[in-house]
Symmetry: C2
Subunit: 231 residues, 2 copies
């Protein structure tokens, strides 16, 4: 509510479009609406967001909502649940699953939300930061909250291997390579001490087994040891 | 590496200071270093970050590092582990705990990192976005990664109650209030049907028990029912 800088409205809109949010409500923007600086910073996001509406008061903006969390940097003398961003989006997703209409409220740039406004919302969100540099601007806050909202919907594994180039090699392909490699090494006098051979063999096996190789890479390795053997 | 806009370097520095990171390495910044626009956008962060160093090449910048993850929006034809931001910081924290020196590499604004650069790092980070608006700028990427880094160190509960104003009420204080409330309600003829009284009593108990009340609030409620009873 009461955003002062068009740039911050634009940055918030961009963050919303990046992370699948589409109901932007502005309460009494200082420079009116539409706003050229917001347009420029939004980089096309205002067209992606389906709804951008302007209200005179917070009461009107919140009229059809059920559950609103407000961001604030400072603790207040008020009995209110305080969420981290991640905890907040969990709560918001749970509410949304119950068809409860939710929103996140951001305050004016300099002053933040007043206690009177905070008293009307269901909870507070405070973004944890390093203690010696805690100032986060409006656009950054909106980005972090929108990001967390989207990530909370993310049920993919935390990482994946990218094998566009070539499928993952089967273990028998890797084993064929390792057998040939060790045989060539043996021929080349690599295993000087019979006592140390088992350990050295394990180390080689481990080196080529602890990461997944693609078919292409195993073929490449085969070609490499062929080439080396031709010396 | 090869950042073009001073503003983005400043935004990245600010994100680092916000989230406790202090080793900024610039590879061949287009406009040289120092940079006025970076200073302005950093809002004091460049003084908070202990080290800002400039290198000519990626190789020099990476020389003393052990484990580097690079951000890229596009999938590449390369066999490489692909992390989400959250998965990436988990990996980085695990490495850091083993005294492995880690870093996150960001590419130039327009083009992003080249495949030759990506081939030198240990993994790739891709920030999940809404498919229809996936463009995230350099400053935003840095903010999200720095934020995730800090949050991964956060072992506090996902939310907490803010009770600066007054301590949490003990259950006996709440019970005293509820007993008095129900007695006053009884006197006022609230429980018209004896059959429904147990259920109505449960509903009242639940209403005042499902959220934690502060001592001040219980006192206020006591005062409220006293006031109501004086009508």
């Amino acid at each position: 509510m009461q955003p002062q800088m068009g740039e911050n409205i634009g940055a918030a809109a961009r963050a919303m479009a990046n992370f699948g949010l589409n109901d932007l409500r502005l309460v009494a923007p200082r420079d009116g609406w539409p706003n050229e600086k917001a347009d420029a910073m939004a980089a096309g996001a205002l067209e992606v967001i389906k709804q951008v509406r302007v209200f005179d008061t917070l009461e009107e903006a919140m009229a059809d909502l059920h559950y609103v969390l407000a961001t604030t940097a400072r603790p207040r003398d008020m009995v209110k649940q305080v969420f981290t961003p991640r905890g907040a989006v969990e709560a918001l997703h749970l509410k949304a699953a119950e068809s409860v209409k939710t929103a996140i409220l951001f305050g004016p740039e300099r002053s933040g939300l007043e206690n009177d406004h905070l008293a009307r919302v269901q909870g507070i969100i405070t973004i944890p930061t390093a203690p010696d540099f805690s100032s986060i601007n409006l656009g950054q806050s909106a980005l972090l909250m929108a990001y967390e909202w989207w990530q909370a919907q993310d049920h993919t594994a935390p990482f994946a291997l990218s094998f566009q180039a070539s499928p993952v090699a089967h273990q028998d392909e890797v084993a064929l390579f390792l057998t040939r490699l060790k045989s060539l090494l043996e021929n080349g006098g690599f295993f000087k001490s019979p006592d140390l051979k088992p350990q050295m063999t394990r180390n080689i096996d481990n080196l080529f087994s602890r990461q997944q190789l693609s078919v292409q890479e195993v073929n490449m390795l085969q070609g490499m040891i062929s080439a080396l053997s031709r010396n």
